[in-house]
């Protein structure tokens, strides 16, 4: 299984969503499964949540997967109350993610 990851900074919102979305789509375009490393991220805005789900749906349309890694408590909470958590398979660490998938 081909996997490539992208490392997110502290936030995912309307200021950087385009850059993140482009990077994730580029990974999928290559035919790789994409992993978003969110370990450093402590805030995801409404736009950010939509980038995640968009990437997930784009991956699915290509027969690929999209995984999330390293939620902070704040991000986990937002994902939970807005219902976005139910769409994703997630892992606590990159190591756990790679061990599970490989």
């Amino acid at each position: 299984m081909k996997i490539e990851s992208y490392q997110l900074g502290e936030r995912l919102d309307s200021f950087n969503y385009q850059e993140v979305q482009d990077a994730l789509l580029a990974i999928l375009e290559k035919g790789c499964n994409a992993v978003l490393d969110m370990t450093a991220c402590n805030y995801v805005s409404s736009t950010g949540l939509r980038v995640l789900l968009y990437a997930k749906k784009m991956a699915a349309s290509k027969g690929l997967n999209f995984y999330l890694v390293g939620f902070s408590d704040e991000v986990k909470d937002i994902m939970d109350v807005t219902g976005f958590d139910s769409f994703f398979e997630s892992f606590s660490t990159m190591e756990e993610c790679l061990n599970t998938l490989r």
Binding site: D13, S46, T47, L49, L53, D77, I78, V81, T82
Partner: protein, 713 residues
């Protein structure tokens, strides 16, 4: 293929613009532009005011150019906005002439009447900046929620068991055990509890944006802060209350509420919203400018010939519901909640107002109510009227319905309360209520499905207080106990308020069980007040609209303290869901029209087939013939239903009742006896034991017995 009409034609202070689309009203995204559209019949000029998020001063004010107007609508598209970080409002210019009904003031920045996301008051009870030039702010909403397979559930209304609840009261209590207290997410956490209780519909008290600081004050009695807790006072008709979302501080209340609805649906629970279209939070002549008053006062409000506000709502103003444009707004709002939030039904607060014309007179065929009854998008949405208003119009049984509208049956509440407390003058009325109030709903093709039955609701005593207090105790509301209903038909069972006397407490529990029993075995949709299932008390306060504290919040410790009540409610609800014969849609015939040996429904007295045989007008029995009702998808077993016999003795002495003889091979089994201590008071449906004496049952003082007639195993 790209559209060719999405290129800017104008530029203003660096922002690219184009003439907008007049419809739909509000702010919508089109490609990389936001389309702003606002209606005002009497405004002469309009300006779009844009802020960066949470900034006090706008970064630009854009006039609507002449070519951006069509009819009485101002619309423009603004390109390349980072719309997650934009807040918008309008300035309206026009005459200020209250005698003519106009109150335009271009110094005010106004909220869009169609705002779908309102921020600025994101954390409950946090003092806002009272000097802000624009306190409630509209944002552009994402309307792309992923519902997957969810749709409104369309459960037949007669199969619902409605649970009337308040977002904060439900989980703010210290013992609620949820992480996100007082929010939509908090309700989500309690879904397993709702499922255990067995209700299949929650009715949320108002969740549209409102101002909890309206009439904010300190109680002169106990020094507590008083808020507008209930929220019957709208700021916006399209936006959820931000402070009801744990994610409101991030502006994510829309997603959080939609997620709650989706999760409730996934667990078989419908969602009804309590909507308040009779007035707004702008108050009377002295109230604030939030939106409507400054956008188009004469359109939105019912005004006296001198230009003052009519006050049929008791809240300072009255929305001009039968003005064609306001009517459109109401219809749009309801459609939006159904299509975008998958809401299953609405309960209309003080709905009689919706049938008044622009001068306040009641109409015989109010166009708004007719529009709603025939609306295509609302075609299967439950429409429930609180069929009275504060101006003296009382329409229970006569609310214009077109066969679509159900009503809060206030007469059910009054009759059942009186019967339970031992009133000897109410038997005939109680009989009507038990069979789905044919005296009120047999005409106009309405049927049993028009009746929403309840004994308690947010207005008035909780069920435990109904049996613990003779009089209201609203002193803490700071109005010298003048507020709240005086005529409660309550009885304290011998002592006002809490007591250690075991006989009084036993009787109170018994009376609570009598009430829920009558509610669950009566024809019509039952509504339970949240907290009654655990014996919640408001300490005698029958109008806790301002008590954002332990008075109104559920005390979840009561679940242990009153475990017998919770168990009884749970089994009674399950019983109703298992017996289709309790959930008819149309009125009963009282005859054996299919030749099954017994009528579909029959009255009895203490002697079988002799309804006149009784004591003091306080005894009554009836039997439902299960062969007239087949099972359905609400959990009832396959095949014809059982016979159900209910014997009620509201007399203070014990009486023997003779149940009717069953067909050969069947026997009476006992399901419930409110006169017995727990756990003998009620059995798990399906496990009811056969009774020894099939000819006579003894029903204790102030007790109800339910028997099931089925083949003995």
């Amino acid at each position: 293929m790209q559209r060719i009409d999405i290129f800017p034609t104008h530029e203003y202070q660096g922002l690219k613009l184009r003439s907008g689309r007049p419809y739909p009203f509000g702010a919508t995204t089109i490609g990389n532009a936001v389309n702003f559209s606002v209606y005002s019949r009497y405004a002469t000029d309009c300006t779009l005011v844009l802020f960066h998020n949470r900034e006090e001063k706008p970064f630009i004010e854009i006039p609507f150019f002449k070519e951006f107007r069509l009819g009485n609508v101002f619309s423009m598209m603004v390109f390349d906005l980072d719309y997650e970080n934009i807040e918008y409002g309008f300035r309206m210019d026009g005459p200020f002439n209250p005698e003519e009904g106009h109150r335009f003031d271009k110094s005010k920045i106004l909220l869009d009447p169609y705002a779908k996301l309102i921020v600025g008051r994101d954390v409950w009870g946090q003092q806002p900046n009272w000097d802000s030039i624009y306190p409630y702010r509209a944002r552009v909403v994402f309307s792309d929620f992923d519902w997957e397979n969810d749709v409104p559930m369309e459960t037949p209304i007669n199969d619902l068991i409605i649970y009337e609840m308040h977002v904060r009261n439900f989980t703010c209590g210290a013992a609620s055990g949820v992480k996100h207290k007082g929010t939509f997410a908090g309700i989500s956490e309690k879904i397993p509890y709702l499922k255990e209780l067995g209700v299949n519909c929650v009715e949320l008290m108002p969740i549209h944006e409102f101002d909890e600081f309206e009439n904010h004050r300190i109680s002169p009695v106990d020094g507590r802060e008083l808020f507008n807790l209930w929220g019957y006072s709208n700021v916006g008709f399209f936006a959820p209350k931000a402070a009801y979302a744990s994610s409101g501080r991030f502006g994510m209340q829309v997603d959080e509420l939609k997620t709650l609805v989706k999760r409730l649906h996934a667990n078989g629970i419908e969602v009804i919203l309590d909507v308040v279209f009779n007035h707004t939070a702008e108050g009377n002549e002295n109230g604030p400018y939030i939106s409507y008053r400054g956008i188009d006062n004469k359109t939105y409000y019912m005004l006296t010939p001198e230009g003052y506000y009519f006050n049929f709502s008791g809240c300072g103003n009255t929305l001009n519901c039968n003005n064609p444009n306001v009517r459109d707004m109401i219809v749009e709002s309801l459609r939006y909640w159904v299509s975008d939030y998958h809401i299953d039904g609405f309960r209309f607060d003080l709905a009689a107002i919706l049938g008044r014309d622009q001068n306040g007179n009641p109409m015989s065929n109010p166009p708004l109510l007719e529009s709603l009854a025939h609306d295509p998008i609302l075609g299967k949405t439950k429409l429930i009227a609180e069929a009275w208003d504060a101006g003296g119009l009382y329409q229970v049984g006569s609310f214009p319905s077109w066969g679509r509208w159900a009503e809060w049956n206030g007469k059910f509440r009054d009759s059942v309360r009186r019967f339970i407390k031992g009133d000897t003058q109410v038997l005939g009325d109680v009989k009507e209520r038990i069979i789905g109030s044919p005296d009120l709903y047999a005409s106009q093709g309405r049927g049993i499905k028009a009746s929403v039955n309840f004994v308690t609701a947010h207005d008035g005593f909780t069920l435990m207080d109904l049996v613990s207090y003779n009089s209201k105790h609203n002193e803490a509301n700071g109005e010298d106990n003048r507020d709240g209903e005086n005529n409660n038909n309550s009885w304290n069972c011998g002592c006002e308020g809490p007591t250690d006397a075991p006989d009084i407490n036993t009787l109170r529990h018994q009376q609570v069980k009598n009430a829920i029993t009558l509610l669950m075995v009566s024809q019509g949709t039952p509504m339970v007040l949240s907290g009654d299932e655990m014996g919640n008390s408001q300490f005698g306060n029958n109008n806790a609209y301002c008590q954002d504290n332990e008075v109104a919040w559920l005390d979840w410790n009561d679940l242990q303290k009153n475990a017998d009540i919770f168990r009884y409610f749970k089994q009674m609800i399950q019983f109703r869901r298992q017996h289709k014969v309790l959930r008819y849609e149309e009125h009963l015939s009282h005859t054996d029209y299919l030749g099954l040996g017994y009528p579909d429904f029959s009255w009895h007295g203490v002697k079988a087939w002799q309804p006149w045989a009784g004591h003091n007008n306080l005894t009554l029995a009836f039997m439902l013939n299960g062969r007239y009702a087949n099972s359905d998808d609400q959990g009832a077993p396959e095949g014809p239903d059982d016979f159900i016999y209910v014997a009620m003795n509201m007399h203070w002495e014990m009486h023997g009742f003779e149940p009717p003889q069953l067909p050969q091979g069947m026997a009476w089994h006992i399901f419930a006896n409110t006169g017995m201590p727990s756990p003998e008071d009620i059995f798990e449906p399906g496990t009811e034991p056969v009774i020894e004496n099939q000819q006579l049952v003894l029903v204790g003082p102030r007790s109800i017995i339910i028997l099931i007639g089925r083949v003995t195993s």
